[in-house]
Symmetry: C2
Subunit: 351 residues, 2 copies
C-alpha cells in the first residue's frame, strides 16, 4: 500500500564542506560571528551543496493547487471558484508568487492536482488532476490510497524536473480553498494537539469562522481516530492533494539532496508529515518565515525550526519562501565575495 | 554656534500617495492584508516617494569612518590600525558592505573623517579628515564646536551627492574602532539610561571588557553632566566624527525627503540624536534590522521602531541595512507587478 519510493534513503549533507566553509568564515574581514545567521546560512548551504563556496543562481518554485471537499463545511472566506481562477493568475504573472519569482529570476512551475471548477486549457499549468477535489473528511477519508499515491508522486516528479533543470534550491507553494483546515487537521493528528490550538483565520475568517473550523476539525479527528497514529494514514484521511504533493516533494528533496526552502503554515504541516515518514528529510530543510497564522509556531517548534523572516505574511503560494531567497543569496555573496584578513592586509583573524 | 542648516524644515511625506497605494493594495489578488509588512512597506515607500507605485532602482550607501580617542581606554577588541586598513578594504571590494552593495547594484561611497593611522592615498575614498581622531571623552569633550560642525556637514554633503545622483534610498554605515563605546555613551545621555543598560560586546569584548566599557562611559557621563541636556552638546562631548556625520546625514535626508534605511546600534544612536534635533526626521526613517548588540532594543523602542530583520548581525558598516534592501524591492515588485481582482478575473476584492 505504501509507495515503495518513500522508503528510499535520504542523502546526507557534506560535513567536510561545512567545515571548510566555517574555516573560511573565520578568515573573512569581520569580527568573528558578526554576520550572525548569514554566516550560519552560508555554512549550511555549503553542507547541502557539497562545496566550500555555495551559490544560488537557479531557484525552482513549484505551486501545487487542489480543491478540498471540506470546503462544503464553510471553513473558508473565499469560494472554491478561486482555486481555478488563481491557476490562471499564476501562469499569467499576476499572483504574488508570480511577481516574486519574476523579480528574482526564479523559475515558476504550476501543478494542477484537481480543482472543483475546470480552469479550461491553461498553457504553463502541468495537468496532474486526480479528482475535482478530495472527499469531505468530516464524512470519509479525504483520499483513497491510490489518490494519495498519485499526489505524493506528483510532488516527487516536480522535484525530479527541478533536479533535471539543475535547480540549487526548491520552493514548494500551495493554493487551495480550505487548505488551512486540512493542514491544521493534519497537524493536530501529527502533534496530538487540540483543534483550537492549530485553527486560525487562514485567508480571513472571523472569530466565529475560526471556531466553526475548529469544530469541523474536531469531528474529523474523532471520525478517523483509529487511523491517525500512522502519519501516512493521517495524510490520507485529513490532507489534500496539494498537501500530499508537498509531502512527496519534501521526501524527494531529501532523497535527491536538493535543499527545500519551507514556506508557511500549510507547507510546514506537509513537511512535518514528510519528516515523520523519513526523518532524514529534516537535514535538507531551510525555513523561510514565521507566518501570521497562529498555529505555525507550534509546527516550527516541533521541527526545531527558526525561520529567517517574520513579516506577518499569511498568503501561501510559496510567497514567504520566495521572500527569503535574497537572504540566502546575500549569505552566499558575502561568503564568496569578502576578502580574508590576509588578502586585505587587515589586522585580525584566527590566531 | 549651532550650524544654521540644522534648523531648516524637514519635508512631509505624501499622504495622498499613501492613500492611493493603500487602495491599490486592497485590489490586488490576495486575501486582504495577507502580505503583512510587505504591504505596509509599499504604502510607506509610496508616501516617501510621492507616487502610488514606488520603486527602488538607485540605492546609495555611504560609509563614514573615523577614529576615537576613547580607544586609549581599552574598550575595543581590535587595534586602531584596523580603521585605516578597512578604508582600503571598503574601496577594493573585500568588506561585507562592499560585497552586499555589489550583489545588489547599490552605489557605495566611503568618507574618511579622520583616522589615527594615515591610510595613504586611496582612490575612491572621499577625504574629509577633521583630525586623526576625536579627543578621549573621559578627559575632555570628544570634539570642538567647529569639529562637530564639520562632521555634521560631511553627512549633509554625502546626502546632497546622493540626491544629485538620483538616489531613491540612502544607507549610512560606519567604521571606527571603539565607536560602540561612543554610541552607547551618546545613547545614555539621550535616553537617561545607565551605562550598563547600553554597553555590549561590540565587535567582541568579553564580560570583563564590557564592564570596563560601562565604567569608562560612567566616567564620561559624570565629567560632561552639565552639557548633556542638549542633544547637540551630548553629540559633541560623547560622539565621534562618523557618528556626527550620521546625525547630519539623517537630518539632511529629512530635509531633502530622501528615505534613510537605518542600520544597527551606532547608526540608530546617531539618528536618535537627529530626531531630538529635528523631530521631522523620523518620518523618513525605515528600520532594517535588530542588531545582536543588546542596547539596540532600547534605542529602537525610543524611536518606536520595528525593524524588518533580526539576523543576529553586529558588524556595522551599513551591512544590516543593505541586507534589508531586497525586502523593500520585493514590496515594490509585488505592489507594482501583481494583478488586481478585476484584471485577473478572480473573485474577491473590496465590496
Amino acid at each position: 500500500m505504501t509507495p515503495a519510493w518513500l522508503s528510499l534513503p535520504c542523502r546526507a549533507p557534506d560535513a567536510a564542506a561545512a567545515e571548510h566553509a566555517e574555516a573560511r568564515q573565520a578568515q573573512l574581514t569581520k569580527p568573528p560571528a558578526s554576520l550572525g545567521r548569514l554566516e550560519a546560512l552560508a555554512v549550511q548551504l555549503a553542507a547541502l551543496q557539497g562545496r566550500e563556496r555555495p551559490s544560488l543562481e537557479r531557484v525552482q518554485a513549484c505551486v501545487f493547487a487542489a480543491d478540498h471537499g471540506v470546503a462544503a463545511q464553510g471553513v473558508s472566506a473565499f469560494p472554491q471558484a478561486v482555486t481555478a481562477q488563481m491557476l490562471r493568475n499564476f501562469v499569467t504573472g499576476g499572483a504574488a508568487v508570480s511577481a516574486l519569482a519574476r523579480a528574482q529570476g526564479a523559475a515558476l512551475e504550476v501543478v494542477n492536482l484537481g480543482t472543483a471548477h475546470d480552469p479550461g486549457p491553461l498553457p504553463g499549468v502541468i495537468d496532474a488532476r486526480i479528482a475535482p477535489m478530495t472527499a469531505d473528511f468530516t464524512q470519509q477519508p479525504a483520499m483513497t490510497a491510490p489518490q494519495l499515491a498519485a499526489a505524493l508522486d506528483a510532488g516527487r516528479q516536480a522535484v525530479q524536473r527541478a533536479v533535471q533543470a539543475g535547480a540549487q534550491l526548491f520552493i514548494a507553494g500551495e493554493m487551495g480553498i480550505a487548505n488551512t483546515t486540512a493542514a491544521a487537521a493534519l497537524a493536530c493528528a501529527l502533534l496530538g494537539e487540540p483543534p483550537v490550538a492549530l485553527s486560525g483565520p487562514g485567508t480571513g475568517l472571523d472569530d466565529a469562522g475560526v471556531a466553526r473550523k475548529a469544530a469541523v476539525i474536531e469531528r474529523a479527528l474523532a471520525r478517523h481516530a483509529a487511523q491517525l497514529h500512522d502519519p501516512l494514514e493521517a495524510l490520507r484521511c485529513l490532507g489534500g492533494f496539494e498537501i500530499a504533493a508537498l509531502t512527496g516533494a519534501a521526501i524527494a528533496c531529501g532523497q535527491a539532496g536538493l535543499p527545500l526552502l519551507v514556506d508557511g503554515f500549510i507547507v510546514t504541516a506537509a513537511v512535518l508529515a514528510a519528516c515523520r515518514l523519513a526523518p532524514g528529510v529534516r537535514d535538507w530543510l531551510l525555513f523561510a518565515h514565521r507566518s501570521a497564522e497562529p498555529g505555525h509556531a507550534r509546527l516550527l517548534t516541533a521541527l526545531d525550526a527558526n525561520p529567517l523572516l517574520a513579516l506577518e505574511l499569511r498568503l501561501g503560494e510559496g510567497s514567504g519562501a520566495l521572500a527569503a531567497v535574497p537572504l540566502l543569496r546575500l549569505a552566499c555573496a558575502l561568503h564568496q565575495g569578502m576578502a580574508t584578513f590576509a588578502e586585505a592586509g587587515v589586522t585580525g583573524g584566527p590566531r
